[in-house]
């Protein structure tokens, strides 16, 4: 038993719903009690979908438990098939139905339905949403893919995009366009917008493009093993990764054409002088491992930030993330507990967070700007405009996404020049954010001596510290205290402050 307040992932059957809702012509019969239908609103409200998810819930009640819940499942299943006329159905149990052990798969098999029935075994008390999506897609591909000839022209499949995914809709469009530029056609994109019949055609492609390992890796591995299709290992987020991805696709398909990169702006935007102020901004990254790892590279190599820490909530990908964190010289944080994440952010006091909606709230509380880079998502992560994070346009989008929460370059210079001026002061906040930004909570600012060492700020030094712009003050305080502690100084004077400043000067 573990106490949980907010969770990064839903239960595994919600992952199965993400696959079912992404597809067309597929229906999910879910053995579940009243109330589990809440999951519909994730899709209709957060993603603004204009159709109900293709899910029939058997809706058993307490009084059914002693009676015939299996019969209830069968009648719900038959009615769903009659009403929605799907090309295939997936059947499974939510957490409660798992306990009553009705075996939806076995029951559906005995019904003699004329369409493929794919049973799902999703252990609700061990696994979570990403696993549920990955496993569901894998079972679908395994059941429906048919051996066949490769297409004459070079083709690939796009694997992994689901409903409720972070920018999946636009990533697929961007990567499809990039591949078309290279003269490569997309044979099937799945699960997003695929029909069961499309999954049968998967083995016709020459290779697979795995955009989202969290939800598509098991299927990609199976297709490699069973149908000899290699798959891409690079996720094309950022300029460097997109270039690597292109090279990887070329080596898998033998195509040598380069896609058109004339719309790519990130490199110049990052090199231009206004971006100088981005140099060395300390960022903390948290989210699903794939987005975090890709964004750490973008942050360090393409924005010139300093990665202060990184972590992910999906343990399945802990190993590669740990390895990358080590290369970046930071400790990886692998946890599902947002309180751990909050504590780590407080400890590191970064200047910006790249995270999920959870970290956005943490940032709001701590007064640290945050850009959302990963699921879990909220309604604002489904923008009306075209807004991929993959490919060349994705890189452009990321530049804007990572710069927008910060104080603008020239404005930062002004704040430095007119420090504590009556107009340019801490509480004024970034001027492009309309309403007055929440003043930075002084939490990151309260004197906090390193353990075991008592460091006191003399009043004059404390006053001088206040003159340092708020967005670097936390760093100045920490550096000065560290500097003092290392030298065994117990009192911080104005001199100590500036000695520390000189010491840490870059």
């Amino acid at each position: 038993m573990k106490l949980s307040v907010w969770t990064y992932e839903g239960p595994p059957h919600v992952g199965a719903m993400r696959v079912a809702t992404a597809m067309k012509g597929l229906h999910y019969v879910l053995h579940a009690p009243q109330g589990d239908t809440y999951a519909d609103l994730l899709f209709t409200m957060i993603e603004r979908r204009n159709h109900r998810p293709p899910v029939t819930y058997t809706t058993f009640q307490a009084r059914d438990l002693g009676a015939d819940t299996a019969g209830l499942f069968k009648s719900a299943c038959q009615e769903a098939v009659d009403r929605f006329a799907p090309e295939a159905i997936i059947v499974g149990a939510s957490c409660t139905a798992e306990l009553i052990q009705d075996d939806p798969g076995g029951l559906a098999e005995t019904m003699g339905l004329s369409i493929p029935v794919i049973p799902l075994e999703l252990p609700s008390y061990q696994r979570k949403e990403c696993f549920g999506a990955d496993e569901t897609f894998y079972q679908l591909v395994k059941a429906l893919a048919r051996p066949q000839e490769r297409t004459a022209r070079p083709t690939v499949n796009i694997l992994g995009p689901t409903a409720l995914g972070f920018r999946h809709r636009d990533d697929v469009e961007e990567i499809t366009g990039l591949l078309a530029d290279m003269g490569i056609e997309v044979n099937v994109c799945a699960p997003l917008n695929a029909r069961p019949a499309d999954l049968a055609r998967l083995p016709a492609a020459h290779a697979n493009v795995l955009l989202y390992p969290e939800t598509g890796e098991s299927a990609a591995r199976w297709l490699e093993k069973e149908h000899g299709q290699p798959y891409t290992k690079t996720v094309p987020i950022g300029v460097g990764a997109t270039r690597d991805f292109i090279a990887e696709v070329q080596s898998l398909t033998g195509v040598t054409t380069q896609p058109d990169a004339s719309r790519l702006r990130l490199p110049w935007w990052s090199a231009s002088v206004d971006s100088t102020y981005l140099t060395g901004k300390r960022v903390f990254l948290f989210g699903d491992a794939t987005h975090v790892m890709a964004m750490a590279r973008v942050a360090r190599d393409e924005m010139g930030f300093e990665v202060a820490g990184m972590g992910c909530y999906n343990r399945e990908f802990a190993r590669p993330l740990r390895k990358m964190a080590k290369d970046y010289g930071v400790e990886a944080l692998i946890t599902e507990d947002y309180l751990d994440v909050e504590a780590e952010i407080e400890r590191l006091a970064p200047e910006m967070i790249l995270g999920t909606q959870m970290e956005r709230h943490i940032g709001k509380r701590l007064g640290i700007p945050c850009a959302v880079i990963s699921s879990p998502v909220h309604v604002q992560d489904f923008p009306a405009r075209y807004s991929p994070v993959m490919g060349f346009e994705g890189a452009n989008v990321l530049f804007d996404t990572l710069v927008h929460p910060l104080v603008m370059g020239l404005e930062e210079h002004l704040l430095h020049m007119f420090r504590e001026d009556f107009e340019f002061h801490d509480d004024a906040g970034p001027s492009h954010h309309g309403a007055k930004a929440t003043p930075r909570v002084e939490q990151a600012d309260t004197p906090e001596a390193p353990a075991g060492v008592t460091v006191t700020w003399l009043p004059a030094a404390e006053k001088e510290l206040k003159k340092i712009p708020f967005f670097v003050r936390g760093k100045a305080r920490r550096n000065t205290e560290l500097f003092a502690a290392e030298r065994g100084t117990s009192e911080i004077s104005v001199d100590t402050l500036y000695e520390a400043k000189a010491h840490y000067a870059r």
Binding site: G35, T44, R49
Partner: protein, 427 residues
Amino acid sequence: MTHVPPPPQGGCRSAPVLKERGQREVFCGLTGIIWLHRKMQDAFFLVVGSRTCAHLLQSAAGVMIFAEPRFGTAILEETDLAGMADAHAELDREVARLLSRRPDIRQLFLVGSCPSEVIKLDLAKAAERLTQEHAPHVRVLNYSGSGIETTFTEGEDACLAAMVPVLPRTEARELLVAGALPDVVEDQMMGLLADLGIGPVRLLPARRVDEETAIGPNTVFALAQPFLGETHAALTRAGARHIPAPFPFGEEGTTAWLSAIAAEFGVSKDRFEEVTAAPRVRARKAVAAAAETLSGKSAFFFPDSQMEISLARFLTRECGMNATEVAQPYIRDALHGPELDLLPAGPRIAEGQDVDRQLDRALADRPDLTICGLGLANPLEAEGLTTKWAIELVFTPVHFYEQAGDLAALFARPLRRKERLRLEAAE
């Protein structure tokens, strides 16, 4: 006393009820925690359930508004399902850890879920044990908010019913008002009752555990919400007597509700007029503004909050709408009878749900306004219908005179928006 007349062509109390059984598109009772924990300021709600329960609370709450909210889920894991004794020990450990970190917590609710009910985890026993362990500082109670037993607002009902047996006893003649109301509304209600000379008035739930809500043979009680069937039964068992009345939605509902209580306490007609005249005029005026949009329009209610019959009564009688279907998860005559008496005959009255069949009927009726849950709203909008999310009616202050206009406006807004938007070319 002021009389609210029944409709000329008769009400719906004896109308046939379409009883349906099938897929239900509703929340379970756990959802009530989202407003109950705001109401009871020293309470913590600990759901003993699965990851699904935690995910529901998070999704229904919309966003994580509170850093460390006063609710959480003890997520059952594979090991807990293996052996019962283990699960109790685990629960004790989690509760001890929680209470040591949160000394502000004075009452703890162990909330049963579908999985905890199915594995028959005895939370009553756990609550008894934990009360002994943490008394007198913390009182531990339990109730079930599981989907196999409760529909949406029935979670609050189960919670309040669980509190009744531990209320102190009193011989005093007191009015008890049951049902969680937003503080601003509760204060207005207390003001009206005080002006009528009615008191002392006790509240269930009280804002804090040490407030003086007690019960006994001379207690009379009124329900502020139409979904408190179990609480009604528990209060009756404890010796209190119910004052049946329509619910305080709209000018008429509020007047009828106050009037029933005033009659019980022998308030004079003059006094009643004096206290209610001005707010009644204000309420009618505020409702009239929204009724301009609503009048003559049709409404279709999917079953959701158990407030459907009361709201249909308000919309038809005070806003000039007509209802084509009014569905509620459950209909109980003791609670909803007075409302059905006032609801003009005509609409289909339905109990329970088979969502696919009901969607067929809604699409055939093509009502001007459909009141439904969040899962259905956008799909129905995409079919060209105009919808009002039912959950907002539970979260927004809508009771009593001063909110009557806001209540009507909630329904008028989607219609006004639709009239306003020009999303096509001019020609």
